[in-house]
């Protein structure tokens, strides 16, 4: 476990430095930004005559605590598109067949229980980040959920807490950083992990440091890795139609995912409780 800590600090430090640099770069080098020849996406600017006027778009921008005029920056688009291509094939050739086979032998209620188990053990991520964001009642609800679901819910396999009106209060470190007005930084599409950003990557590192599996002794590494892979196959088995539907409904799936990632994170940061 101890061996992980310096590595984590190193990753965090590097990412923070890169994040600061990225923020700097986006100011100094607008040409490095995601090129948009048909600008006027600036919500504060009134739409040209004849163009569709949407008063809610301006509201969206204003409600986001991080820089409201922040736009998608993707200077590594070529690399990111390469990773997209890789992930797409990994999904179609490895993950999807594995999930289909597994889904055929494992009944759905069991797979849903496995999913709940993995969600439950990540309670520290939600608890700590709710606290960091000053959402104390949400942190309290998450704590109560963890206690109830770990005991009555047999180690997290079931979710009686939701039936008792204790609704899940998701929170993550990327959201926490966004609430402290850390800019998103450039878009990064990681192999296997998928869409992220500079801030999102720091968020992932922070969240994994709060995951209990992170603190297992290194001789347990194979268990952790196995569990992560198993969790991925399990999650995919419950959701693979969604990815197929997403690809069917898009004309440029890479751009669609990138846009959805940024919008979804903006909404998470703006969420009021």
């Amino acid at each position: 476990m101890k061996a992980n800590t310096p590595l984590l600090l190193c990753v965090l430090g590097l990412s923070c430095a890169a994040l600061a640099q990225g923020a700097e770069a986006s100011k100094a080098l607008p040409e490095g930004e995601f090129h948009d020849p048909f600008a006027a996406t600036d919500a504060s600017k009134p739409a040209a005559e004849g163009e569709f006027h949407d008063p809610f778009a301006a509201t969206d921008a204003a409600s986001s605590p991080a820089a409201s005029t922040e736009r998608i920056s993707d200077p590594l688009e070529r690399l990111n598109r390469g990773t997209y291509y890789f992930n797409d094939h990994l999904y179609r050739w490895v993950l999807r067949p594995a999930a289909k086979g597994y889904g055929a032998v494992a009944p759905k209620p069991m797979r849903e229980s496995v999913d709940r188990f993995f969600v439950n053990i990540k309670y520290p991520v939600r608890g700590v980040n709710n606290l960091l964001q000053g959402r104390f009642s949400a942190a309290g609800i998450e704590t109560a959920r963890f206690v109830v679901n770990t005991t009555v819910g047999v180690g997290g396999l079931f979710d009686p807490a939701t039936r008792w009106k204790l609704k899940a209060q998701p929170a993550d470190f990327d959201q926490t950083l966004a609430r402290y007005r850390v800019p998103t930084g450039i878009y990064l599409n990681w192999p296997v992990l998928g869409p992220s950003s500079l801030r999102g990557t720091v968020g992932l590192a922070g969240d994994s440091a709060l995951s209990p599996t992170f603190y297992l002794d290194s001789s347990w590494r194979w268990v952790t890795t196995g569990a992560t892979g198993f969790n991925m196959v399990n999650t995919t088995s419950l959701h693979f139609e969604e990815y197929d539907a997403l690809k069917n409904g898009t004309l440029d799936p890479y751009a669609a995912l990138r846009s959805a990632y940024f919008e979804n994170r903006k909404a998470a940061a703006a969420k009021k409780e």
Partner: protein
């Protein structure tokens, strides 16, 4: 004659009633109606999917402001198009959306457990936002928002925001990416090539 006058008055007052309805009431009425139609025992099963998709398409046809949606998705690009190109784009884009979403809804309608309406907001008199939370049978909540425009015959949807992701914004970013890489004609070619699942 008297009957004619009476029915004319009745129709008028009905039309006025429809106009006066709140955006949320209209969304709820349409949603309730389409869900009831989809749950009809006559259209259950995999072999009846085409019928279900037809029902969803008909509801979308009535409730969406296609031209506004298309305009919003094209952004400034809309201004550069000729009237004929605009008509073609609205036609292609609305078909694409109807095809994509009728497929999704006709497949997943069974997963829906309940809908909780979370109120409406009206901006500038004729723009409305209606928020709701869809809960699946697996007890997962999905926040959904309809953004609508007031038309002569009621409120029409021009954008759907799911989990903070706006349909218009998402397509606009895709269209921008495609146009930046190729051209407007390239975009049209891509939409035409995408004929995923015809009825």
């Amino acid at each position: 004659m008297k009957h004619l006058l009476l029915s004319a008055l009745l129709t008028l007052s009905l039309a006025a009633g429809a106009l006066a309805q709140s955006p949320q009431a209209e969304v709820k009425a349409t949603t309730d109606a389409i869900l009831a139609q989809l749950k009809d025992p006559k259209v259950q099963g995999d072999d009846k999917k085409a019928e279900r998709r037809q029902l969803v398409r008909a509801a979308m046809e009535k409730r969406f402001a296609w031209e506004d949606s298309a305009r919003a998705c094209l952004g400034p690009q809309w201004l550069k198009r000729t009237p004929a190109e605009k008509t073609e784009f609205v036609q292609l884009f609305s078909e694409f959306l109807k095809d994509t979403y009728s497929e999704k809804i006709a497949t997943y309608y069974g997963d829906l457990d309940s809908i909780a309406y979370r109120g409406e907001k009206i901006l500038e008199g004729d723009y409305a936002s209606v928020k709701m939370v869809l809960t699946t049978k697996a007890k997962v909540d999905h926040p959904v928002e309809y953004r609508m425009n007031k038309k002569a015959d009621g409120w029409k949807v021009y954008d759907v925001v799911i989990e903070g992701v706006s349909l218009v914004k998402n397509y606009r970013d895709q269209f921008d990416a495609i146009i930046a890489k190729s051209s407007y004609d390239g975009l049209i070619k891509e939409i035409k090539a995408k004929k995923p699942s015809s009825l």
